[in-house]
């Protein structure tokens, strides 16, 4: 087996998949790929359910208005995934100021979101793309006193 050839083949494969990925993004938004409003509604319900079952994370939501959270969370996911929505909630910094969320709890929150995406039958590849849209917001969520 020629490893050098194999490595080159691997890199070529990576480049091809990269360009293929770009092409499909033009054809279909992430919002459509995940199944639109109905999937976002399911995801929101499942995420709230995951949070309510987790003592460590639920403490941050103890005084939250659940109906409002569901509405704003749906809008936010819809907008970030390129859907026809406008997020009308407060900015992420204002929402999380005073909670002083540490890395451990942030990671746990991400885990609950992944559980919720699994329960909403969102494919793994779509989950990764959704997480990619959320990643830049971590700095607006953790360690805000």
């Amino acid at each position: 087996m020629n490893l050098r050839l194999l490595s080159i083949a691997f890199v070529v494969l990576v480049i091809i998949s990269l360009s293929g990925c770009k092409l499909t993004q033009h054809e279909q938004s992430l919002f459509e790929e995940m199944g639109g409003h109905s999937t976002i509604t399911k995801l929101t319900e499942n995420f709230v359910d995951e949070i309510s079952r987790n003592q460590e994370i639920f403490k941050y939501f103890a005084r939250s208005d659940v109906v409002r959270f569901k509405q704003k969370f749906s809008e936010h996911i819809c907008m970030l995934s390129g859907g026809p929505c406008k997020y009308t909630g407060d900015n992420m910094v204002d929402v999380h100021t005073g909670m002083n969320i540490n890395e451990h709890d942030f990671n746990l929150g991400v885990e609950l979101l992944i559980n919720a995406m699994n329960r909403s039958d969102i494919p793994h590849t779509t989950q990764n793309k959704i997480l990619a849209t959320l990643v830049p917001h971590r700095q607006d969520i953790i360690y805000l006193e």
Binding site: L3, F10, G20
Partner: protein, 283 residues
């Protein structure tokens, strides 16, 4: 697989199970497959290359431990490598590792111990905009200096490697799958990891070596390639190393890796290639 190898695997599996039980409430802060493995010299990384990631799953408020055992078999040699690392608050990694290297032709075994320290300088492999950056060192103590001496190594007792690494995970970049890469620049005088001493007649200065890993993470499986440049201090045509690997993560705490290695010429024996198997735990 030789009997000794399977013995080690069984023992290490039992060890891991006991470990899992005792650390059931340990760190589990990171996304599956994004904190890497433990490389051949005991540092958090791929198979051959140390990464910018630390070995554990710890976040900034946690401590985590990662035992591992690896076995390499090529035509004329085999290597057992095992050790444990602690990673503290996603900031500092400390590792200890033993190499037992069988030279079939001489019916002899070379041993060395490697003490490693790695410090995360910047970023997070998943979350920061720029790649995670770490600096590290590996202090290698050769316990069997006779062969290194016979081959003309300048130092036969110990040597130290210094490295800087950058690593990044691109979520969903490859048709929805995660792409991970790491590059490392290492200053080293080590001959064949240090098993043949440090420096030699051909060169006795620190040389900068380039190392890289690129891989794709499916859900519980990652695969990719690695490259590791090496110095040729002894004038024995020491070659750069390459491998293709596949790793399996049934959960966040255990990983199993298989690789095919192309190690080139080692101490005068040409075209050494073979397999690598590694079991690692993260608690």
């Amino acid at each position: 697989m030789p009997r000794t190898a399977s013995n080690i695997m069984i023992k290490s599996l039992i060890f891991l199970l006991i470990f899992t039980a005792s650390f059931a409430y340990g760190a589990d802060g990171k996304l599956l497959g994004t904190s890497g493995l433990v490389q051949i010299e005991g540092s958090g990384g791929g198979g051959l290359v140390p990464w910018a990631t630390l070995s554990g799953l710890d976040s900034d408020s946690e401590v985590s431990f990662s035992p591992f055992v690896s076995y390499v078999s090529v035509q004329d040699y085999s290597l057992k490598s095992y050790g444990i690392s602690g990673s503290f608050y996603d900031q500092l990694e400390v590792s200890i590792n033993r190499h037992e290297f069988e030279v079939d032709a001489l019916k002899t075994e070379l041993k060395q111990d490697i003490y490693g320290v790695k410090y995360r300088v910047y970023g997070d492999i998943v979350y920061s905009k720029w790649p995670q950056i770490s600096v590290g060192l590996m202090h290698k103590k050769l316990k069997t200096p006779a062969i290194a001496d016979a081959l003309g190594a300048t130092q036969t007792n110990s040597g130290t490697d210094f490295y800087i690494s950058a690593a990044k995970v691109h979520l969903g970049l490859l048709a929805g799958y995660n792409l991970v890469w790491n590059t490392t620049l290492r200053a080293s005088k080590a001959n064949e990891l240090g098993l043949l001493g440090f420096g030699g007649a051909n060169n006795d200065n620190y040389k900068l070596n380039f190392e890289a890993t690129a891989g794709v993470v499916l859900r519980h499986i990652a695969f990719g390639v690695e490259y590791r440049q090496k110095p040729d201090n002894l004038g024995l045509n020491e070659d750069d190393w390459m491998d293709v690997f596949i790793s399996y993560f049934p959960n966040k705490h255990i990983s199993l890796t298989l690789a095919y290695l192309d190690l080139g010429s080692i101490a005068g024996s040409d075209t050494q290639s073979g397999y690598y198997i590694s079991i690692g735990g993260q608690f």
